[in-house]
Amino acid sequence: MAKITLQDIRHSYIDNPVTEDDWALKHMSVDWADGTACALLGPSGCGKTTLLNIISGLLDPSEGKVLFDGKDMTGTPTDQRNIAQVFQFPVVYDTMSVYDNLAFPLRNRGVSGAALESRVHEIAAMLDLEETLHSRASGLTADGKQKISLGRGLVRADVSAILFDEPLTVIDPHLKWMLRSKLKELHQQVGATMIYVTHDQTEALTFADQVIVMHEGTVVQIGTPVELFERPKHTFVGHFIGSPGMNLLPCEIRDGAAFFAGTRVETDHAVKPAGAAKTTQIGVRPEFISFADQGVAVEVVKVSDAGRHSIVETQAGDHVIRLLLDEGEKAPEGQAFLHFDPGHTQVYADGWMVE
């Protein structure tokens, strides 16, 4: 178990990166306290896997340092880093039985006898693999194989961190739920640092205490699920997290306030003059918009039922504004006015929140 620090990391898969786009990971420094359950969230190709492979040592960063408990581990080979990693697609050793697969990482590190046996049985019981323990691993379904991969990641008790690279992609939905809560349970039991890469926000928000949102090779926000939801630092976070995502409306800044389509919109933070910013936007989540007697004039276009609440789609000029209504509330028809909750309405300059 260890605290993991990335210091001024940059990485490029090209030998001589020139433009900013050549970097798969742009400059970043991140800290993981010992025992964190952290999710790395972002769309495909944003550099999540690259970051994970740098931590485990499968990849050497072009620049910067990887520290475990303050000790420089950059350049240390993977097998000496004491890291477990589970990959997106199942990796099993076909010629071995399920038992031998699970025992493999321990045997390679000199564990044997009763200690080995009890640990393998413990992990197998946790993942419901006991019945197939002595059959050949190659005969199992994709689910079963991925459980073995997970098991090999979890079997070593003394690892610095366990890294998961979208481990539940190939798993059936009903098993996904079960395995996710198993992982969470396990995290509480052993308290190992866990870093979980995913592009699924539900997965990230249910698993982690801390979520790192990545976009095009940069970290856009680090925070708790609540922080990401209530105060997204970047329009990308607002848009990516939440269903439906945050409404983003172009605005004008004058007299220390934001104006959308000529209507003054109250925001929690005093709005500074935007200065050199190319674009300014108002961001407000559908959860924090309500119908009112005055405010932003819109036309109600569509109401769709989403179970506990309904999603109302309205149109203000060329812009679509979505809001949520609780069960039982009725949406007006035709012309209406919207009120944005000032405490949850932010102004963004060039994508970043103005504070």
Binding site: N53, S56, G57, L58, P77, T78, D79, I83, A84, Q85, F87, Q88, F89, V91, Y93, D94, T95, M96, F104, P105, N108, R109, R136, G139, S149, R152, G153
Partner: protein, 288 residues
Amino acid sequence: MARKTTNQKAWFLVVPVVVLVAFNAVIPLMTVVNYSVQETFGDNVFFWEGVKWYEQVLHSARFHASLLRQITFTGIILAIEIPLGVAIALTMPKKGFWVSVCLVLMALPLLIPWNVVGAMWNIYALPELGLLGRIINGLGINYNFTQQPIAAWFTTIMMDVWHWTSLVVLLAYAGLRSIPDAYYQAAKIDGASGWAVFRHIQLPKMKRVLTIAILLRFMDSFMIYTEPFVLTGGGPGNSTTFLSIDLVKVALGQFDLGPAAAMSLIYFLIVLLTSWVFYTLMMKNEEQ
């Protein structure tokens, strides 16, 4: 219920393939079967002999000797070419400019006609003229493949290894390249040694291509004719007279068509049966 339409004219559609198979497989094979149970003195006059030729071949010391030579030869070249081919494939680069260079170099021996390979090695290994022959003799070893059976075997095996190891390399390399990176990454995470990676990842993933490689090399080497014929002509004495060389001597040298036909069929059955048993065993293991 709809009446089934019957149209016998459809048979005409399969006529071309029936004719083709008849002329290139069935008729030649049946001709050999025909010869193997009869005696002929020319003029298309045949006498029924039953299984006499088969008994004669199976009890012939000469056939036993060439069969033993053949099995030894095939065994030796498989024992060299398969491990060597895998070893070379493992050391070949995985990406970049050198991949193409290596692949072209490896493919070259496979593109040379078999009798040219025989002629090349004949000249190459000549004790007085050839580079190899002179070097070996220069080292103080008395080497003359036209007179010493051991030297003849050594040269024939070297020639086959030179000619055909590439095939094993290319197949094994293709097998290795199909292993996803995640396997190697997982092995690093699991702390697996280089040997464990080979034993538990690379070898199992190469199993199918190696099965094909062994089958191809078994069949080809078991039927080898041109190269040793050009190199040693089966000599010195009978020391490198493998099955096909012996068969040609019986059929065309002595014109014993009956025994030669019986020998051909026994030969054919040995190759077919061995290949079938080997393939079935390998694939049965796969399913478990």
